[in-house]
Symmetry: C4
Subunit: 267 residues, 4 copies
């Protein structure tokens, strides 16, 4: 950062003090240590989503801090398949690190912080390059649920278009809080939003729930592509009634988690 840019950045920070946010140079305080079992699940989520083909060399998974809703936990900038407990960092909701110690931060961490700000019901956020959703993000064909496991998509899947975000976005990346906020607005009260030509954001009430949703979204997209390709007239989508019923009784996620975690952590 050259000196003049540094001054500009500081001005923004000063301004943000006036409206209630933290002073960037002073790192935010920690919400305290976290149950290692929860960290293990977060690590497992990174590994599982890599094994399931939802995360590639990039993308990230976060959880809200259980002791303070204004903090979240996420790995440093690292390929998800390589994440260990030691790589997990703590951030405030402006996505400032509590204890950076020279570690590189995920560029698009604002996806997480801004989503936690507006979605009190969400305790886990995934950003992925889930391959089969990409075609739906660059065409006019909506991603809608056909398989039971993805019934939660019945509320709709918005496509976030950086060109229409209302804030500058040179290259489609969510590089700052403004873009993160615009994306969170696009997501609204939904479970999944697509990022055009880029991937998706998936949210859940906990990390198991979000991981399951991310995998089932990829599977549903893959099978819907095939169903459309069959050319057999209108697709028989899952109805709003079926989706709502499934929301009320979402099954037993523990069984899937047991299998995937065992495979991912190799024990």
């Amino acid at each position: 950062m050259n000196p003049s840019m540094s001054i500009a950045a500081t001005s923004v920070m000063v301004l943000s003090i006036a409206v209630g946010s933290a002073f960037a140079q002073i790192p935010p305080s920690t919400a305290g240590s976290v149950d290692p079992a929860l960290i293990e699940d977060l690590v497992a989520a990174n590994r599982i989503l890599s094994q399931q083909g939802v995360l590639d060399h990039s993308g990230h998974v976060s959880i809200r801090h259980p002791a303070n809703p204004n903090r979240y936990l996420m790995a440093r900038s690292l390929s998800p398949a390589l994440v260990t407990a030691e790589d997990i960092m703590e951030f405030d909701l402006d996505s400032n690190p509590v204890d950076q110690r020279g570690r590189r931060l995920a560029l698009e961490r604002f996806i997480h912080g801004e989503t936690y700000k507006v979605r009190q019901d969400v305790n886990a956020v995934i950003h992925s390059h889930s391959p089969s959703v990409i075609p739906f993000s660059v065409t006019s064909v909506p991603l809608r649920p056909i398989i039971l496991g993805a019934a939660f998509l019945w509320t709709g899947v918005p496509v976030f278009e950086t060109r229409n975000a209302g804030v500058p976005a040179a290259d489609m990346l969510i590089r700052n809080r403004d873009l993160g906020k615009a994306l969170a607005n696009s997501l609204g009260d939904k479970r999944v939003a697509l990022l055009r030509g880029h991937g998706n954001v998936v949210v859940g009430s906990n990390v198991q729930n979000a991981v399951r949703r991310a995998v089932d979204t990829e599977t549903n997209a893959r099978l819907l592509i095939i169903a459309i390709g069959l050319g057999g007239g209108p697709i028989n989508y899952i109805s709003a009634e079926e989706g709502a019923a499934r929301d009320r009784d979402p099954g037993i996620p523990a069984r899937v988690w047991e299998l995937w975690k065992r495979k991912a952590l190799g024990n």
Copy 2:
């Protein structure tokens, strides 16, 4: 079914009419222990179908009890890839466990019990989320056989639609005996029925036969999707004559089973 067992089954029916569901607390009697080799094959079936991509984290395989046609054997609620001999439980045809011991039951076990009730020729039942059959379940394109291995589909593949089942079905799952019975009626005398947006049920005279059918149904669906996509006019399906000939001389399933079981059990 031998005569005395037939009488016993009738008695249970009469009793259940008289007392409704109040006597569910009295577990059904066991049909006795089973040859460990048969249990090993049932375990292998779970592993094979997971390796072959027919079963995902869910789904189940059952066999009819060799000593009593009114009992069947199936794993507790568990991902099929993790099933071992210790996880196999015994059920009556109303899908009540003989000896639950606190184990969680597969929610959709009624698929199995209700099928065994009406299909005397069937000794193995598979319920899967076989991915390539799903597109056929949400479009008007029928799943018909093109490959020799799936010639048994020549008798037709019905699609079970929970919305038209004649019984309440909030979310597409086969949650009770009524839905299981409706599905078994939809299956009729066929080998495979699809469940809309969900998967399929595959039956066979024994577990090797059912496993082979489940794998070949997935393969046939995958290749038929491609053949239709080629857009080269009418598909040259397997004829009724060819299907019937194959039924009379279905080949040597032992060779395939030998390969798959070795891979699945790692020995």
Copy 3:
């Protein structure tokens, strides 16, 4: 086999003596032992084609006996992934085993014997269920070469239809010499013929050449399916001139064989 059927079979054999073939009860003589390196390559071919997804649980690879053009070598009935040197048997061109010793014979071995009879240039034959060629066998879309590696397909790929074979064929399998001969006639002087709804037969001057052709045929089929699906007008196929040029200078198969064999045999 019951007694009356045995008599009927013997009658056929007697008849075949009259027209010049061998007396079945007397096994044909052996052409002698074979260089173990050649057998190792034949075993490797089975493993390679399994690893490359060309052979599934079935299918077979044969080579002509180097010391006698009227004998060929092929595994007993066994999944190709499990074949070892001990499983290799010797056959005459009527597909009678030299030394059966109770081993089960591949049902469709006549594909091999009848092809060797009419194709003096061929020293290796593969029969596979190569998945991506199946769609071309059940539609009117011809399998033609687009990739350099499959340029050898420029001479055309016939589709053998058992219904039009001129001999009885209840279920699409090549169960006898008559069907094997009809298939060999369909193949003619080509390198590959498809079997409708079933797979293909691939021939080569040696086993390395045939394996390479089988893999490249599968790859070409897979990519041609995609190219056709793109809907971008006529496909730019490999021309007859290019195909003929490639025939004259087919490259260095040893490099590929080295890689595949190392992977397949794990050394």
Copy 4:
């Protein structure tokens, strides 16, 4: 290129005019030894591209010699998955080996030498049979970027057609300097050119950059095929503005390289 090297190169040109090809027997001089870490990266590139499905049994990766822009480094003719540091050879830009020692040369090495001649900005060249780009090479559908990672394709992807190369090309292979030069002209100032029915050439400022581009080109092609297949009207491609922005800020390739290299070299 520093001034003295430029003079040396000119001298070689003058000499070669005077003597025709008669002096080919005198091997070019070496540019000296190379940092083993760079060779390790070149080896890793071969392995990574094999693991990622971009390179099959053939194809090659080269880097420009760091001490002399008129030399490049590439493996002897060998399947990329088997390449080790001992297999790396040095070539001049006419693709003559500095020290052949009986090793077989990659037939199409002229792709590399001729590209380095005309592209001063390029320090790594990949030639692959990247499967998903092939369909774009045999149809009229252009390969354009839809995913962020492949934004660099915004400058266009030419298709090189050997039939129109202006020099003899019997079988689509780049068998000599003339064909290499024609291909380099087709590539022009782009990052990727397709070879009809054959594969592509991908260039980069260093080997990490070129590898990343080769992988992302394959992924983009695969997803674009699906997006077109969805039939949902015009594709929302990455714009020139977005592509140019991404060129100015191409992200952190080190993170991906770390993951891929670890997987490829198993450490």
